[in-house]
Amino acid sequence: MSVEIFLVLGIFLIPLAGIAAAIYLVASRRRDG
């Protein structure tokens, strides 16, 4: 059961973590160049 929780959460959260960080980096970049 615990491994299933780990896998299910991991499958959803790993892409979510990366995409959230990417969105933040793109949105917060300096635009005044």
Binding site: S2, I5, L13
Partner: protein
């Protein structure tokens, strides 16, 4: 003169010269230039007086940087650094930046765990994001990656209890 004192003096002159700029932009400009100096010194592998003076000389006078900024010029000063990746006051999409975003998005899907971490490594190697922005991105990734680990640990504790 101590290298750190030289940098402090240069940044002080920059801040003083930047008085016509909005306060927020002035602080940002000083932070950006400080970061560029630090990365140039780090890349040169030396932190003595001569190297520091060379880095500052190649940057140009603080007044020139402010003038370029005030005129909204698309001025690059990255070429001033020895072996450093060219950087500019504005954002530049280089290989590190594209790789960071690619690994954080597609990499997260196709390379679980490794993808986002490689993306973060590229983001940290970039000179285009500030240290604060890199830390926030790192916390987002690490924070969300910790959720399944904590859930797994929690489930193990409850099973063991």
């Amino acid at each position: 003169m101590e290298p750190d004192a030289l940098v402090r003096d240069y940044l002080g002159r920059l801040e003083a010269a930047a008085w016509p700029l909005p306060a927020e932009r002035r602080l940002e400009l000083v932070a950006e230039v400080r970061e560029h100096i630090e990365s140039a010194l780090a890349e040169s592998g030396q932190r003595d007086e001569v190297t520091t003076r060379n880095v500052l000389d190649r940057l140009g006078a603080p007044e020139e940087i402010v003038a370029a900024e005030a005129e909204g010029m698309d001025r690059r000063f990255g070429a001033a650094f020895i072996g450093a990746q060219p950087a500019a006051l504005g954002f530049r999409w280089g290989a590190s930046e594209v790789a960071a975003i690619a690994f954080l998005t597609a990499g997260s899907v196709f390379l679980p765990f490794i993808g986002p971490l490689v993306g973060l490594a590229f983001a940290w190697s970039s000179t285009q994001w500030t240290r604060r922005q890199k830390w926030v991105a790192t916390l987002i990734v690490v924070g969300l990656l910790m959720v399944p680990v904590i859930a797994l640990m929690g489930a193990r504790v409850s099973v063991g209890a």
